[in-house]
Subunit: 184 residues, 2 copies
Amino acid sequence: MARSGAVLRGQLLDVALRLFGQRGFRGTSLQDIAKEVGCSKASLLYHFASKEAIFNELLTPSMTAFDALNETLQNAPTPVVARQAVEGFVDVVIRYRQQIAMVLQQASEAAEASIEGNCTTSEQRAELLVTALSGRSTDPYVRLRSRMAIGAITVAAASPETDMSTEAARQELVDGALRLLCLA
Amino acid sequence: MARSGAVLRGQLLDVALRLFGQRGFRGTSLQDIAKEVGCSKASLLYHFASKEAIFNELLTPSMTAFDALNETLQNAPTPVVARQAVEGFVDVVIRYRQQIAMVLQQASEAAEASIEGNCTTSEQRAELLVTALSGRSTDPYVRLRSRMAIGAITVAAASPETDMSTEAARQELVDGALRLLCLA
DNA sequence: ACCATAACTGTCCGATCGGACAGGATTGAC
DNA sequence: GTCAATCCTGTCCGATCGGACAGTTATGGT
């Protein structure tokens, strides 16, 4: 059953993204993915060097976006950095909500994931974001609130669909996080 | 190497709790746990019927507490149920923060976990809590905020230690969640 | 000491897993 | 049709895993 390489690769990535999000990385086997796509496991491994390679390819776009956000925030004026962090983070999370669900399923694997040639870990990324959300404050109370904001946004965004438009949900996420951070 | 059964069982549970929280359920093998405790895998299986049994025994106290909370909230007067939900949930999460970390590591396994003789799943538990946090409102905006509050509390509570007392952290979690829910 | 029970162990089993590999099938250009 | 490149497959491999099992050791009571 030949289909163009690009088509099959796309299908494999789509299914992997969903199954990794539902069952976790280790809870999903290559055979699971291949079976659902309708090809052999060996065919899957023809297109991707390893299971890890699939995971990294799924994660790369969101990590890239996240890193770009962190870089933007590092140049943001301190009086507005926290608010910019909230809006930026909400946008990244909404755009990559499936990847977020996947990451939430296996923080330990994601913690070790790094983009080729870039050794920033998830923990380091999160810390950069906490700093921005905290308006660069080192006060532990402020930083705890920032962790709460991250949890609020990521968990809510990864939750089952609701009867709301994406734009309305986005606004609610932003407003809620701002209230939490005493920025409303 | 004989030690009393209770002592060994306690050690096995402690180590399992930590490793499940760090590596996930599937990412932790029975041999990993046994090795760290200093006994054989077969000895571990003498004390616990299965890997699943360990997981359930670790989860049972927190699930029991969670269910008790939900039951209390069902009888709470509507005008104060949301505030009570916040405080009650924060207390449960702080008390069982390691279990929370463990659950965050494998939501799919936890989703299927049930206490013997009680078929409430994690999803059902969460929905009950969302209802209470929402003050029994069905408005999707209100319920989204409630999901945010759950995420905020659980993720922040499962985060690395900070330079704050437990009581101070508790207060911050409660206050932050109340602001998020427009209850401050 | 004897005995029953609890605790512990090494070994084995079947299943699953990620990945290697040789060979066959398909495709498009000439 | 031929050919090279791409794609796909079944099979096999070694490793790991959870768990079964028979046998040994340790413990406490009599």
